[in-house]
């Protein structure tokens, strides 16, 4: 009984982490069709922003939920204006340029923070269930990712800004004929995507020892989650995060964490081979 509860929490936590690390990329890739290979580094910078802010005496929740997203969002804005703006529609070139950016940010972080592990302690204490110790912070991550999904859904479906953004991504010429500036809307969407990446990096920062190359660990998982999700943004995110998260945990419990990761990647390859357009091209068609 206790064990099954712990395993359930671990599964939910794995799914929530995948949702969290993929949300920013889902907006940037899923909506804007920009393959941001610097996504992991955006997360890494979110983590560093949090740690720096905490070291300056800011409350950790303020640092994670407000400072980090804004800081990374602004960096994203800069990147969009200087680099990505010139490459819209050139898929492979964007991929290469953002890979360059990712290396650049790693180098920058190494110069500023040094090639050492930094970290902060988790702000929420653990508790015990029967004979097992459960990390209280895991619940925080589950709650945050549920709120994130709800928030994204609300903004995209419920607000005028979300409607305009979705419309522009579908037909930018039509949007501009109706008097909206696609240039500005792309800029704003990229800001939001980067901010989400920053938030994810910040929230995960207390769980990992942060090094400048931390981003690499996220990018592949985020990428395959979004790609396997397919065209529907949120339904795809949830369905692929759920399938990958559960498979990862099952193998991690049954064999070892490394095999869990390998199982996740192998599943991704098989899934893409069977459904090259992603899960939501076959199920949940036409959903958001």
């Amino acid at each position: 009984m206790d064990l099954s509860f712990v395993i359930l929490v671990e599964m939910l936590y794995a799914v929530a982490t995948l949702v969290l690390i993929s949300a920013g990329l889902a907006v940037v890739f899923g909506m804007m069709k920009v393959i941001n290979l610097a996504h992991g580094e955006f997360m890494m910078m979110g983590g560093y922003a949090t740690i720096t802010a905490v070291n300056f005496g800011v409350n950790i929740f303020v640092a994670m939920l407000i400072i980090a997203p804004i800081a990374v969002g602004l960096i994203g804005l800069l990147v969009e204006r200087l680099v990505i703006r010139h490459l819209y529609g050139r898929l492979i070139d964007t991929m290469l340029a953002t890979w360059g950016l990712s290396l650049l940010f790693v180098g920058l972080a190494t110069m500023i923070f040094g090639n050492t592990t930094t970290g902060i302690s988790t702000p929420i204490p653990g508790f015990t269930v029967g004979n097992y110790q459960v990390n209280g912070y895991n619940f925080f991550i589950i709650v945050i990712s549920i709120m994130l999904i709800a928030g994204m859904l609300a903004v995209l479906k419920g607000t005028r800004a979300g409607l305009i953004a979705r419309g522009t991504m579908q037909r930018s010429d039509m949007a501009s004929a109706l008097g909206y500036s696609p240039d500005r809307i792309y800029m704003a969407t990229f800001f939001c995507g980067s901010a989400l990446s920053g938030l994810a990096g910040a929230v995960l920062a207390p769980l990992v020892g942060l090094v400048p190359t931390s981003g690499v660990a996220y990018i592949a998982k985020a990428f395959i989650t979004v790609v396997a999700g397919g065209p529907a943004l949120i339904a795809g995110l949830i369905s692929s995060a759920a399938s990958f998260g559960i498979i990862n945990q099952v193998f991690a419990f049954a064999v070892s964490p490394v095999i869990g990761d390998v199982a996740l990647f192998v599943t991704a390859i098989v899934l893409l081979r069977l459904m090259p357009q992603g899960i939501t091209s076959r199920f949940f068609k036409g959903k958001l």
Partner: protein, 343 residues
């Protein structure tokens, strides 16, 4: 056609031989050897990406696979000829299986990138986790993140005591690169190469003409992997140790950068890009003011934005502009066709 082909090969051999002879006067052969090996690695991606339109994000995987195959086989056999052959064959077989899965699945360019990237990551993770004593192949322990040291380096075939090292190893690698270059030139001149170019330009059209596009792409992908595997084996023999960093993302990223900077759709561009950037990295490594990764990243971004065709095509254009239209013989070089599939 036949006459000009012969002239082309002769030019390559003469230039190659001159370079092999002249370069040791400028730099020591130990450094040159690694530049040549990287050049070969660059050429392997330059072939499949520049001429086949297959963007592989995990060319480093084949390089690493070649190096590991060589190291493991060299420990088990105690000589280097069979391991060398295995290091070419095994990555090629691996690539053929992977390629068949991807190309017969009709995956688009982006998904291809994702899958090759993920496969590289799996290998990286797996090799990194093999530190325990239970991971052995024959007499060779995989060694996890410590890698495999202390294997037999390259020797004269049939005489395991006669090591090839120092200057002679440089000449072996240089001649190997020259042979690979000639092979690639021959391949691109053959009908297989022409059709590969056609597939790059318009895949649907070539498939409607009745060619089996997926099979041809798979074969090309495997050839690229074989060249990368050979480079890996030479690298293992040069470094005398193989480590999981060969499989790392940074390694694969670098190969792509070499191709972009040198110039896609040329044979010499990726070699020049690889050797040039590796040499620059070597020089930069001697200072500690600016981080190396930062510069690599900056170069990639700047090239994608301002010179997406790379150095060699830009120089070729400049050369033609200065000399007017150039000789009619230059015109038929199909590899200078602008890449229509660039976007």
């Amino acid at each position: 056609m036949q006459g000009s082909a012969g002239k082309d090969y002769l030019t390559i051999i003469v230039f190659g031989a001159a370079l092999i002879w002249l370069l040791p006067m400028v730099e020591n052969t130990y450094t040159l050897t690694i530049l040549i090996i990287y050049g070969m690695l660059g050429l392997s991606l330059g072939l499949i990406w520049g001429f086949g339109g297959i963007l592989c994000f995990g060319q480093g995987a084949f390089f690493g696979l070649g190096a590991y195959t060589y190291a493991i086989a060299a420990i088990n056999f105690g000589e280097s000829t069979v391991p060398m052959l295995l290091a070419v064959i095994i990555p090629a077989i691996f690539a053929a299986i992977l390629g068949a899965m991807m190309f017969y699945g009709r995956l688009t360019e982006v998904y291809l990138g994702v899958i090759t990237l993920v496969v590289t990551l799996i290998l990286f993770k797996f090799i990194n986790s093999t530190a325990g004593p239970q991971y052995v192949i024959g007499d060779a322990r995989l060694g996890g993140y410590n890698g495999i040291p202390g294997f037999q380096t390259l020797n004269v075939p049939g005489d395991p005591g006669a090591y090839l090292w120092g200057d002679s190893y440089y000449y072996v690698c240089a001649v190997a690169l020259l042979l690979v270059y000639l092979l690639v030139t021959w391949l691109l001149r053959s009908s297989f190469g022409r059709i590969a170019l056609g597939i790059r330009e318009n895949e649907t059209r070539i498939s409607l003409m009745g060619y089996d596009v997926a099979a041809r792409k798979t074969v090309l992908f495997a050839i690229g992997a074989a060249i990368a595997g050979l480079a890996g084996a030479l690298f293992a023999s040069w470094g005398e140790i193989v480590t999981p960093t060969l499989f790392s993302m940074a390694q694969s990223a670098e190969i792509i950068i070499w191709c972009i900077v040198g110039g896609l759709g040329t044979r010499f561009g990726p070699i020049l890009g690889a050797a040039g950037l590796a040499y620059m990295k070597f020089l930069l490594g001697q200072q500690s003011l600016v981080d190396n990764t930062l510069i690599t990243g900056l170069i990639l971004v700047l090239f994608v934005l301002f010179l997406p065709k790379g150095i060699v095509p830009a120089l070729a254009r400049f050369y033609r502009a200065v000399l007017g239209n150039g000789s009619p013989g230059k015109r038929k070089n199909t590899h200078r066709i602008r890449r229509a599939t660039n976007g």
